[in-house]
């Protein structure tokens, strides 16, 4: 079972609440993170790893963005955004103090509590690391409750690696086996080169007694699952994060309908065995 979605903090889920940008910083050439705090009088909220907010740049547009920060870090909310369209670029240009409309948090979350007592494999591709970072924070905060934990992360080039300092810190510690690979690199890169699936053989976990959380492009997730299943991991121990065009975030509009489910309210995190049949339907 997935962890129950928390109730959105807004009095009405369709009404954005004003939040203020505190600061923003570039993670890579095209991806930035920013922190926000509630505008005076706006309610703050708790979230679970994997949930997302609808962020509204007034006069520009509203988009769903996963929360990438640490729940334990008080009243600021952190999101990581790839600047690829009008709204994401507009968010990137907001200065400290600028207002943003926030609806959320929405959606299902990674089953962190259910993973306790077992090994955990976290597999991220590209910006898919952002919705998984809160999982890492929660795991590290309750580390003794988990078995072996590995974070496998693949991205395009060394310049596209997110959260570089944290990855370096995690890879030096004993709490988390952190493996990073890139699809292509120059001679100055001394890390792994190859797709993220090549890291699975290097990860230390017991497939019979482990959970997996996978987030990235759909093709990457499919091949990752194939490798995990080759090792004997059961499909009900694998969770993935799905992405479709979400608009209302509460299952009214139908933009993100995925067979009988809505990604916004039934997902974005799904247990793999429950949607594997839908992934095989090409028209969806």
């Amino acid at each position: 079972m997935l962890e129950a979605p928390r109730v959105p903090a807004s009095p009405h889920p369709m009404v954005p609440q004003p939040w203020c940008v505190r600061r923003s910083w570039w993670e890579t050439e095209d991806t930035f993170s920013f922190s926000m705090e509630p505008h005076h009088g706006s309610p703050t909220f708790q979230f679970s790893p994997g949930q997302f907010n609808m962020l509204y740049v007034f006069g520009v547009g509203e988009i769903p963005i996963s929360i990438s920060g640490d729940q334990a870090k008080g009243e600021t909310l952190v999101h990581t955004v790839r600047a690829v369209g009008a709204t994401t670029r507009a968010i990137g240009s907001l200065q400290p103090g600028a207002q943003l409309g926030v609806r959320g948090p929405f959606g299902s979350s990674w089953p962190v509590r259910q993973a306790m007592g077992k090994d955990l494999v976290i597999v991220a591709g590209g910006i898919g690391l952002a919705p998984l970072r809160p999982v890492v924070y929660e795991v590290l905060a309750s580390r003794p409750k988990f078995g072996r934990v590995c974070l496998l992360y693949g991205t395009r080039t060394p310049d596209d690696i997110l959260y570089t300092k944290e990855l370096q810190k995690w890879s030096k510690g004993a709490d988390l086996q952190t493996l990073v690979t890139v699809d292509r690199a120059g001679q100055d890169w001394t890390g792994n080169v190859g797709v993220v699936t090549t890291l699975i053989a290097k990860a230390e976990f017991d497939p019979d007694h482990a959970s997996a959380m996978v987030c990235g492009p759909e093709v990457m997730m499919r091949f990752t699952i194939r490798e995990l299943e080759k090792l004997g991991m059961r499909s009900d121990n694998i969770h993935i994060s799905m992405e479709r065009n979400m608009k209302c975030a509460v299952g009214f509009c139908g933009h993100c309908q995925f067979g009988p489910t809505f990604i916004c309210k039934d997902g974005p995190i799904f247990r793999y065995d429950r949607i594997r049949h839908l992934l095989a339907i090409r028209e969806m």
């Binding site: 120059g186 890169w189 080169v193």
Partner: protein, 153 residues
């Protein structure tokens, strides 16, 4: 002291081989070390060996004019470097360079080819293992070619 036969037997490449085949493999094996940045082989050279990596990391590279050496793949502990020794004309298609100090078992391909001609069961076991590696690398290369992390409009 660890014998070469034991070292070969402990590598994932040799998993499932019987004692006779392990002995045949070890008879063509030698220990090698590469310092960081040392080149193991270059494109076009005769490919008479392949490597079972024990520790460290090697890069498979392709040199392109005006772009220098492009790192296509890294091969680390428990993995295998090289299959050109098995396929005529037995010449390397890429360069290989250690990107950190690396220990490996070098297997003499010429020696193994001769033994495989006399012992088809050994030849089958070797081909089966190399085919598996080829399939994994082909799949990985296809995914790399998809450039999955680009935004596709």
């Amino acid at each position: 002291m660890e014998t070469l036969e034991r070292i070969v037997a402990d590598h994932s490449f040799a998993r499932g081989l019987n004692a006779r085949h392990l002995e045949l493999l070890a008879g063509c094996a030698s220990n090698v070390r590469f310092a960081a940045n040392q080149v193991a082989f270059r494109e076009g050279e005769e490919a008479n060996e392949f490597y079972l990596i024990r520790e460290g990391k090697m890069a498979v590279e392709l040199h392109a004019p005006e772009r220098g050496s492009i790192n296509i793949l890294t091969v680390g502990e428990g993995e295998v470097l090289g299959w050109s020794w098995l396929i005529p004309p037995y010449r390397w298609s890429f360069d290989a360079r250690a990107i950190e100090p690396t220990r490996a078992v070098a297997l003499n391909g010429k020696c193994l080819r001769e033994k495989s001609e006399r012992d088809s069961e050994l030849g089958y076991q070797l081909h089966k293992r190399i085919a598996q590696i080829m399939e994994e690398r082909l799949q990985a290369t296809r995914l790399q070619l998809l450039n999955l992390y680009e935004i596709h409009a």
